[in-house]
Structure formats: structure tokens, C-alpha cells
Symmetry: C2
Subunit: 166 residues, 2 copies
């Protein structure tokens, strides 16, 4: 959606200030708590979690609690449309796996995270901390979530001045 | 998600400018094109539209093209989980109806629209024009859509200065 009208600022300095301020926010400042399930969780149980926690996407971890997958409402919808027995099939069958998971980190700017969300057309990003294990493999610990809802709330906070510390 | 750190502006004037500028945007400036189906459309066909158009919610209209319902991915997921024959049952059975549809108008501010999205916990708002028919009933024509994706894009435009007319 390219803007069309009313976007002209009389003052370039003000506009620069806005960019500066928006770019000041880090993922750690706005992240929310993700819903996380194990790979062995059934598709059905994961959908129940989706509804009870009222979330848009679910993150999947292995037995050591490292991130292995992401499942969106769309993935669930595809699964329920098919002939699968969702009570028996584990969520790992339908999840998006590494290296196809788009992630962010605590220190990344919110702007960069939003750019990833918009460009990759995903609903949310897992916020991860990266570790290297004894086999020299990268392991990701999930420490939060950034979603479009996070962005909407931040936009509202900025516009309504509901945030603290001002 | 309440912000915690880094939200302190040194300059109250700049912060006022941000609020002024964010509040300048109208729904008409950023709205996108909605996916609209008739009440008689089957749940299955509506889900196909959801995937082919890659959208999060679908708006439903009557034979005169006036808005009668809204269906989210969550509503579809509920329907596919149940025992319904989604090939036969029309979408009107599962849609949210007036007066429970939260709407916005072309002249409303984007901030007010985002407030509605956040407070009512919906993914999108139909942008409507209101008419009064011969029976003195209010009829709503769908002229657009505002979603969390719209807000993420606007946030990015503001932060990256990708918008025109500057």
C-alpha cells in the first residue's frame, strides 16, 4: 500500500527526528511472550493452544528446548483441510523448519524486525538467542516474539503517548 | 506489551510532533483492497479465496453488495475443526454479523482505526461508506480494508522514509 496523499511534511527536520526515534526501539523493548510447544505435540493440541492463548503463530522446540519450527494459522488451516488425522500427527510434520524460519534478536531494531515481517510476509518473528553446541552447530533459544500486533501497539503508544518515561 | 526502556525523549517538542504527524494519516491514505465474497459462497470456496489472495480476513456481502459479515482465519479454523461439510455450508453460517462487526471510515484517522484493532483484538477493519435505505435502515458499502499489515507497512514507511511527497 503506497501512500498517496497527506504525506508531505513542511519540516524535513521533524521527519528526520521521527525516523531517529522510530529507529531507537529495540526488539527487547517491545517483545511479547510466545506460545511454545514440543515437536511431539499433536496438531490438534497445538490448535487448542492457539485458541486458548489467542495467538497467531506457535513456535516449536526440540527436547532440549531449542527452536526447530514455526506454525502459522494458515499452516493449521491447510492441515485441517486435508485428510490428516490431526489428533495423531505431530506438529513437526506441518511446521516451517530452519533455515526457512525468519528470526530476530533482542538487540535488533524494531524497524529491522518489521522490515523482515513485511518482506517475508510472516505474521511474527521468534526472538532468539544463538548458541554454538559441541558439534559446532547453531542452536536457537526462543526468548520472545514480535508480531504485527506488537507493531500496532507500538504505533498506538507513539500516537497516543500512552508510553511511560516521557 | 508495556514498553520498558529507551522510551525517554529528551525533547517533548519532538514527541509532540510525532503524535501530530501520526495523527495526520487518514484511513483513505493507507487502505488496501479487501477480499469480498457473497453470503452464499461455501466455506470451502472462501478458504480457497483466502489462500489465493493471501489475506487474513474475508468480508461478506449480500446480493445488493452491502456488508453483512466478516470472517477471520480463526473462524475458518474453527469451522474446519468441526463436523461441518464445508463444501455445502455457506459462509454466512460462520461469519460475524452486524452489530458485532467493527468498522472504520475513509475519514477516520489511522490512529483511531489502530485503536479499534488493538482494543477489539481483530486482525482487520472493513472501511465502509454508510447509506440509509428507503426503510430507514443503515447499509454499509465496503470500500477498503485496514489490517495489521497496513500498520506494519506504514510504520516501515515512516521509519525508512520510503514514502513519497517529502
Amino acid at each position: 500500500a503506497k501512500p498517496r496523499v497527506g504525506y508531505t511534511f513542511r519540516n524535513g527536520a521533524v521527519e528526520n527526528e521521527i525516523r531517529k526515534i522510530l529507529n531507537r526501539y529495540r526488539v527487547r523493548d517491545v517483545k511479547s511472550v510466545p506460545v511454545v510447544v514440543k515437536e511431539t505435540c499433536s496438531i490438534y493440541d497445538a490448535i487448542v493452544a492457539l485458541f486458548t492463548e489467542d495467538t497467531g503463530s506457535i513456535y516449536v522446540v526440540d527436547e532440549d528446548n531449542f527452536l526447530t519450527g514455526v506454525v502459522s494459522r494458515k499452516d493449521f488451516l491447510k492441515a485441517t483441510l486435508g485428510q490428516m488425522d490431526i489428533n495423531k500427527i505431530p506438529i513437526s510434520v506441518i511446521m516451517t523448519r530452519m533455515p526457512n524460519i525468519i528470526t530476530t534478536t533482542l538487540d535488533e531494531t524494531v524497524v529491522e524486525a518489521v522490515r523482515k515481517i513485511v518482506e517475508h510476509e510472516v505474521d511474527s518473528l521468534p526472538v532468539v538467542k544463538c548458541f554454538i553446541d559441541e558439534n559446532n552447530e547453531e542452536k536457537l533459544q526462543v526468548v520472545g516474539k514480535i508480531s504485527k500486533t506488537t507493531i500496532a501497539r507500538l504505533f498506538l503508544d507513539l500516537a497516543m503517548k500512552r508510553f511511560e518515561g516521557v
